[in-house]
Every structure is written in C-alpha cells, then in structure tokens.
C-alpha cells in the first residue's frame, strides 16, 4: 500500500481580491511522478509556492507524510527531506559547482559523508570537468543540472520542481528526463511544466489547473486527447 507523501485539503490563496488558488485538493503517493500543467495564471505556480513554504496559504491545509506543515517556512519543509527547485536557475553564482552541491549535502550529513556524496553526485551528473568552476560562469543548462544536483544530493523522498526544462537544449532535456526518472526510484516528484514535449516524455499522471482550481487529473495520454483541455489550454495560449 503506497503511502501518501503530499496532500492538500481546500488549499486557497488570495492576493487582495484575486483568488490565485481556489480550494485545491491534491494527493500524491510515494514514488509517484506528477506533472502540473495549465495556462499562464492557472494557479500552478501559486500552488507550488504554497506547498514549498514560499507562500503561506490563506486557507486550507497541507500535509506531508501525514504531518501538517501548513504555514511552515521553506527551510523547515526542506529539512523534512523535501527537495525543491524554483523556476529560474537558483544557485550560488560565486561558488563552485562542488561547493554548491556540497552545501546541500552538508545539511543532512557530516563533512566526510557530504564530500563523498558530493563527489558521487558530480560524477552522476557528469559535472566532473567543471566541478571547480564558479556556477556563475556556466551555461543555462549546466546551471539547471547543478540545481538538480542540489535537490537530489539530500536523498529527498519528495521532490518539487518548477519548470526544470525551461530554456534548455534538446540534449539537456533528455539528460534531465533521465535524472528525474532516476529520482523516482526513491522519491515522489511534482513537476510544474509548460513544455508539452517534455511532459509527454516523462509524465504518467498529470493534474491540469485552470483559473486557480484543478480542472482534471488523469493519465497524460487521456488528458492530451481531452477536448475541454484543448479549449482551455490552446484558447488561452494561442
């Protein structure tokens, strides 16, 4: 019986008079991979920020592995063993690749163990040649990969990724898919994504957001075939 690692009940977020996220109920089983899609302004990013602690929801509850985490700070949520990656590459530019990943590992392990895990992660991500380079000097795709390394090195059981494939080359996207699949061996993964190509490549179940609410939730192929969705998605996005 799979454990529910993430659950929201009646999650609502208002900004002034605007309801960005409206009464969202959401459930995620362990080692499940779920993509959140929807047009711009559909509320998926707001949902993501609420779950990762960057925003405190106006109403509703968030549970992780059965524990209520509503209103927790991001660092408290991350400390549970949740890996989070925000939209734009979010790394420490003036530090080297090694230092970036080492800092993430050090949060959960002692110095020797953190160093060993960092080396392993660098090898796994094929970052070896640039391990001693400042992240600020790297290309966009490499930075995204480094950030994925930060997320993965802590052995999370839940991973939240906001547009991991944005602005990447096809080659980078392929490598990214591989890493994400790797992650699902130990963790449940939530991905907010625009890139349908990428979603088709990796997703099974997707949740579609529209105007702050969950419009539908189904297997990717059925969702893609759905006429309502087409109207919503393509109508808005053109």
């Amino acid at each position: 019986m799979a454990e529910t690692v993430l659950e929201t009940r009646g999650l609502t977020m208002r900004f002034g008079g605007v309801v960005a996220s409206n009464n969202v109920d959401f459930k995620l089983q362990s080692r499940e991979l779920r993509c959140l899609i929807g047009p711009n302004g559909a509320g998926k990013s707001t949902f993501f920020k609420c779950v990762s602690g960057l925003l405190t929801p106006s109403e509703g509850h968030i549970y992780m592995r059965g524990q209520e985490v509503t209103g927790w700070q991001p660092h408290q949520i991350a400390a549970l063993g949740v890996g989070i990656k925000t939209q734009t590459p979010n790394v420490m530019d003036a530090l080297t690749v090694f230092e970036n990943i080492w800092l993430a590992a050090r949060r959960f392990h002692d110095v020797a163990e953190a160093t060993a895990r960092t080396d392993a992660m660098i090898a796994r991500l094929a970052l070896g040649p640039i391990a001693r380079t400042d992240v600020g000097m790297l290309a966009h795709g490499e930075r995204q990969r480094v950030e994925l390394g930060l997320v993965a090195v802590g052995d999370p059981w839940l991973v939240l990724l906001d547009e991991p494939a944005a602005g990447m080359s096809a080659e980078d996207v392929a490598r990214m898919s591989e890493i994400i699949h790797d992650l699902t061996r130990t963790a449940a993964v939530v991905i907010v994504e625009h890139d349908m190509q990428f979603i088709r490549a990796i997703a099974e179940t997707v949740t579609v957001f529209h105007q702050g609410s969950v419009l539908m939730e189904d297997h990717v192929d059925r969702v893609m075939a759905d006429a309502t969705l087409r109207a919503v998605y393509l109508g808005k996005k053109g």
């Binding site: 990762s52 420490m92 080492w102 001693r132 930060l150």
Partner: protein
Amino acid sequence: MHRSAKQETLTTLTVAAGLIWLMPMLIGTYTLTVLVIYGMLGLSLGLIWGFGGILCFGQAAFFGLGAYTYAIAAINIGESTLPMLLAVLVPAGFALLLGAMMFYGRLTDVYLGVITLVVTLILFKFINSTAAPHYKIGSARLGGFNGIPGFQTLNVPGDPDAYIWGDAYFYLCALTLVLVYLLVSWLLRSSFGRVALGIRENETRMSLMGYDVAARKTVLFAIGGGIAGLAGALFANWGEIVTPGLFSLGQSAEIIIWCIVGGLGTRFGPVLGAAGLAYMKFLLGQQSLVDNTLITGLILVLFVLFLPKGLLPALTQLWRASIGRSRFGRKPQNRRMRRSNHG
C-alpha cells in the same frame, strides 16, 4: 583541506610576527595600538558584510556598546577581567536580539540599513542625553556628551594594580587581533562559514535546501557584534575615556569605508583598510591645507566607481594575472571576489 588550513595559519602567524616586530620601528606603538584596534573593528564588519552579505550601517553601535560596557563594568568592579568578558558578551547579546528582530522579520538590504542606522541613532541620542546625575549604573555615571573618564584600565587578571599599558598593551592588542583573525579564518573554513557564504550568495536557495537562514544570519551578526565589542573595550582602555562619539554615524561610515577600500570578501582587506585609512587621518591632522573629510569622501567615491572590489582583491588579481599565469598557466576563473580551498 587540513593541510592548506595549517599552511594558512602558519603564513598568518609568520606575517603577523613580522609585522609586530617591524611596525614599532616605523610608527609609535601608541598610534599602532589604535590602528590594530580599528583593524579588528574593520574585520568585524568585514566578516558580516563580506561573508554574510549583511550591510550594517550601525557597526559603531556594537563598538560603542563594548566600550561603554567595559567602562561601566570596570568602574563598578575595579578589576578588568570580567569587564572585558562582558564587553564582548553584551554587544554580542544585543546583536543577537537586534539580528533576530531583523532577520526573522525578513528585512533585507536597504531596510536592514535603515534599521541598523536608526538603532545606532537611538543609542547615540540616548547616551548623549544622559548628563543628568540620575543616569547611573551602579557607581558609574553615564556622563552624557562628555562620556565616562577615569575607569580602571586593563590589568593582569587578578591583580588590579598591575596595569598593562604602553608597549605591553600594544603587543597584547596585536596578539588579540591575530587570535581574532585566526578565529575568523577558522570560522569561515568551518561548515558554518561555508553556509554563511552560501546565504550571502542566495538566501532563498539556501532556505530551500533546509538551512534556517534567519538563525544563521543572526548568529553571524552576533559574532560580528561581539568582535566589534571587543574592539570597543580595547579602544576604551587605549583612550582611557569613552564618549558618545563612538556611537556616531560618522564612526559607522568610517568602518564601511575601511571595508570598501580594503576589499570586501577578504579577511585581511578590512584590517588593512582600517589601519591604513586611520593612519592617513592621523597624518592629515598635521596639516591644514585640505580638509580631511573632503579627502575621505573623495576616496570613498573613487573606490566605489573605479575599484569597487577594494584594494586587496585588486592586488591579488594583479598578482595572479602577472605571476600566476606565467608559472602555472592557470587562468583566474573567479568572477567575484572569493576563492575557496575545498578538497
């Protein structure tokens, strides 16, 4: 990592010993003492600003608090050991409270600047208006604008009549600075220091990695406050009087200028900037052709415009560019100011 740390400590000790031996032949020890103390004060801001990204417009508050704590405690106790300790703990505690208030309130850059500036002003205005006789802590009158003179100066622990002053006091201050410097180096090499660097670079990312950013910044801020307090106590012993001027914005400004000129993100830069600029001010007091404030201001503007990284990083880069390239063929790769020695 261990080897390089040991090597660096050795280098620090050698250079320090050389300077402590050489400098008294060039400059009077009395002046040197205050340069050393300012160096420590510069280092305190260099630590929290250069390595923690916390721009504090009120470092003088901790400096003044350390000096006043020492003076008040020394008058009441009549022996200097406990007052010295208090002079570190009280400013550190104050910084801890202030830091917690600011960082848990998620205040950043400009807003942080305003709060630290305002708190310094409040302290200054308060201390400045304590001339009336009822402002007393124990048997120590706060003295308002005139400050507190005539307190017990540093003595050999346990023996209040064995004063440490003159040359001995210079060597003591210099040694203390070396110790603080090594302590800061150790701190920055430790995981705590590396995390602080990470926070300086990207707070959000670090908190998403599970680090309690507010707590870490608060602790770093308190350490900086404690070092500034120590410098303040040493300064009180040197000047044998404490005045509200220690809390002034002008004093805060000078500390910031020292760091900018010396080089942010380095440990030695702020020390160098502090000692160098303070000595320049001392020399300028012996002429009256050009106003000293004008020169200080000009230096600050020129550095921000043309050498924003400060002297030390610029010199290091120059050194690497000329010597480093020819001998090791390694290109300087750091975009910003810091180098790390992991692994």
